[in-house]
């Protein structure tokens, strides 16, 4: 752990962070904004939810991110018959040693890609989400800590697709941000079609950051200055979400804390040592989308509400 920050290595780490971001951008074309937000999420010690139709690059983004930070990485494909033990691990009886031996599951890695998380049953989803919340798992009465850093990227298909179980509302809060990738714009798509195979590119991708550097960067992000007017802005947004007529439940204080943390990380990625209103504005929709609950399906959806809030609240 590089717990003692020093100026030279700080700057060096930030430079390497920028390199990692540009590397990922080279693989995931045309998604610079999403890539930055994904890194911000990582540096704010949060977990990321990517919600989109299949085939727009969710998995590629997760893999490229994992590679660039040199994290050991597991992918879990969620299916309707996946069991909690398939994620957490099992104890197997070793007859030669006459005792049980624990075989850790795929969750014991620094970066976990939970693919199509909403295809599994709520029971299995909960196993993952609880591990995310506590950074540890409890198996057969024993508590085992998860590695550090621990970062989950979950992808999910749009909720109305057949054969999905929606994630429990209360647990969606575990994800710091939820991103939508969307289709690339035409020029980027043409370039994508022309360029070489994504998988080859991923295999060739070199890690520019080590997991220890991530810990250092996370710490640095915590030290970014957030000024009083900006805090007032965040608070005003939270307040407004609670008063919005279409909103059943507004944003919690935890959401506010997450927003501040993410804004600091984003400011650092942008090369600033203080957060500005733009940071908040960029983060607010990904932060609020999966947390806000519209009063009914007929009214505005969560993303629409979040955008309305941004338009209503004055920047102090």
């Amino acid at each position: 752990m590089s717990s003692i920050p020093n100026a030279a290595s700080n700057a060096e780490n930030r430079q390497r962070l920028a390199d990692a971001i540009s590397l990922v951008n080279r693989v995931v074309l045309g998604k610079a904004d999403a890539v930055e937000l994904a890194f911000a999420c990582l540096l704010a010690r949060g977990h990321l939810l990517i919600e989109d139709i299949p085939g727009v690059g969710k998995t590629t983004l997760a893999q490229a991110l994992a590679k660039s930070i040199g994290a050991d990485y597991h992918r879990i494909q969620f299916t309707s018959d996946l069991l909690p033990a398939d994620i957490l691990g099992v104890s197997v009886y070793r007859r030669d040693q006459e005792r049980f031996e624990f075989h850790p599951g795929p969750i014991f890695s620094q970066l976990v890609l939970a693919d199509e998380v909403n295809r599994a049953t709520p029971k299995t989803q909960s196993a993952l989400l609880e591990a995310m919340a506590e950074s540890q798992v409890t198996i057969e009465g024993k508590t085992v800590a998860l590695p550090k850093p621990f970062f989950v990227i979950a992808t999910q298909n749009p909720l109305d697709t057949i054969g999905t179980f929606p994630l429990p509302d209360s647990q969606l809060d575990r994800f710091l941000l939820s991103l939508q990738l969307g289709y690339p714009d035409p020029a980027m798509e043409r370039e994508l079609l022309l360029s070489e195979d994504r998988q080859t590119m991923l295999d060739q991708l070199q890690a520019v950051l080590a997991p220890a550097d991530i810990a250092d960067l996370q710490q640095q992000a915590g030290g970014v200055h957030i000024s009083e007017p900006l805090v007032a802005y965040v608070q005003a947004l939270l307040d407004a979400s609670r008063d919005h007529p279409d909103c059943a439940i507004g944003l919690s204080p935890r959401a506010g804390l997450a927003l501040v943390r993410a804004a600091k990380a984003l400011a650092m990625i942008d090369g600033r040592d203080f957060a500005i209103p733009e940071d908040i504005k960029r983060l607010f929709v990904p932060l609020a989308r999966h947390r806000l609950q519209p009063r009914s399906a007929a009214t505005e959806d969560a993303e629409g509400i979040a955008r309305q809030l941004l338009d209503q609240v004055a920047i102090p």
């Binding site: 200055h225 000024s227 203080f274 500005i276 209103p277 733009e278 004055a314």
Partner: protein, 654 residues
Amino acid sequence: MKPHLSQKNVLASIGVLLMASMPQWTLMPAWLTAVSLAIIGWRVAALRYGWRPVPLWLRVILAFLMLALVVYSYGLFWGRRAGAAMLTMMLSAKLMETYRIRDARLLVSMCLFLAAAQFFFFREIYMLLYVVAVVIGAVVTLQWLQRDDAEQTSLSEPEIESPPLSDTVRSAIRMLVIALPLAALLFFLFPRLGSPFWGMPEDALDGKTGLSDTMSPGSIQSLFLDDSPAFRVTFDGPLPPPAERYWRGPVLWGYDGINWSPNNPGYRTRAPDRLPDPQPDSYRYTVQLEPHERRWLFALDYPTATPPGSGVSSDYMLFSYEPVVSVKSYQVVSEPRFTADPEIRASFRSLALGYPEHLNLRSQAWIAELRQQYSVDQELINAVLRHFNESQFFYSLTPPLLGRNRVDEFLFETREGYCEHYASTFTLLMRMAGIPARVVTGYQGGFYNRNANYLLVKQSDAHAWSEVWLDGLGWQRVDPTAAVAPQRIRQNIADTLGGKRTWYDFAWVRSVRNSIDVIQHQWNQWIISFDAKKQGLLVGKLGLPFPDQAILVVLLLLLGLVTGALVRPLIRSFNLKREQDVALKLYRRFRKRLARLGVRSGPQDTPGELIGRAVLQLPERTAALQKIGDLYLRSRYGSQPHLLEDLRTALNAL
């Protein structure tokens, strides 16, 4: 929204100002008081009739005029009086711009300072009571201000009713009582300096009380009505009899026909050749002298040694090296059986024989005739005293005025007067007869408080007597007043006259006053005269080291620095907030300007969005616009207030 200052609170603040500055009015020249009252009156009227505030330029001009007025009244070298007057004037002036809670709070807090400044001039215990009343008033007003502020700035509903006045007063008193132990601790233990850093210019002093160092007609008379204490004396051992209680003050040698003046105004003469040796039965006593802003100290004849920080003049008067500006306590041992100057130097002798020879010719003839009768000096003196006693001379505090030949008129016509007349006349007669003589001023007598065992000498005990130099006997005290009104010497001035000096001058009032003077005596002894020296003793008794003055100065400076370092972050965070406000103001101006150029924006737009839009419409200004955006973000959100000036410049350049 700036919190609004309510009418009630304006009036309360004015009340506190009036109370705090009232004692000053008695000290300031009348025109300063008038100006101060005029401003206060204007503010009350402005409140009543809703007049508009005075514009800034006029306020500045008025403030400078008031400064000029104070300089005109006191000169350029300021002492306490001018400083206090300036404070009073400027606090009145502050009323012209007291329209916000912040201003009122500042005004009332400064009134606390002004109230405390009264102790420079008034040390009586009743002034303490008055100042306490002012402080309570000020704290009550501050509470009201705080309440107003809180009600207007908080988002929650205001409380329905404000508490009754008695509750507020009670809580003010409670707060002050809570603060009292800390104040006492600081009073006794906060390091004191022997003298102020900045020194005390002597010009700044204006001895308005007590004796002066010249004797002109009426100068002592003015003191007879003044019952305020001059000094108090505690004796170790027996008291001298009343007829021996002559407290020597300035000795006067020169006479110009009207006024008597000292030989040595600057006290630069050398000390007498020798002082008496203390005897076992010499008088030992401690004098607690009220400040009179002059340098002389009072003692019985003749001091055997000088207290620390003082010297003795060639005519045996004790004097302090520094003007006595606060209650001063000193110990003296006096030995009356002493031959002062058995030999007299020629220069002193000629001084002690000088008189204006063209005046008072009748007296000169009269004494010359008497001289022929009595060739022995002592006999001549007795003859003159007998003349005062046996002829129709009267002791009166309201004698007729005298003209050019004062001695002639007094001796042969009016024959009415008090110590000043008798001492002056007698001394001149001696000089005309060729006997060296001089006038001594000081105090005579005093009221002995049996219970508290001290002697109270009041201003009304001021006295003047003569000294003559006799061959072999040295200087001898002769009090011609005693020949006319012996009871003046045995009792005191008020009892001598029989009648009343003023309408409230009853004997019982005097005795009550004398009795309650004990409280003032204790107050002086324990509080007022608590100075660096006494603090050193106290600290020593507590077993703490007491640094010397130079180290103390350094320690105080260090203490100031440390306090500053502790307070700085607070001030900084406060300033930061204000500077953010400045940044916001500049940004609003920027948005307005852009709106005029056709770049619309709403309050929900981030600076980045606004700049982006502006760049699209004004591509030729891209660099300038981006610079403004960057400076604004950094100064407002990045806590870099030093960029504000750059931001202002960039905005103006646009």
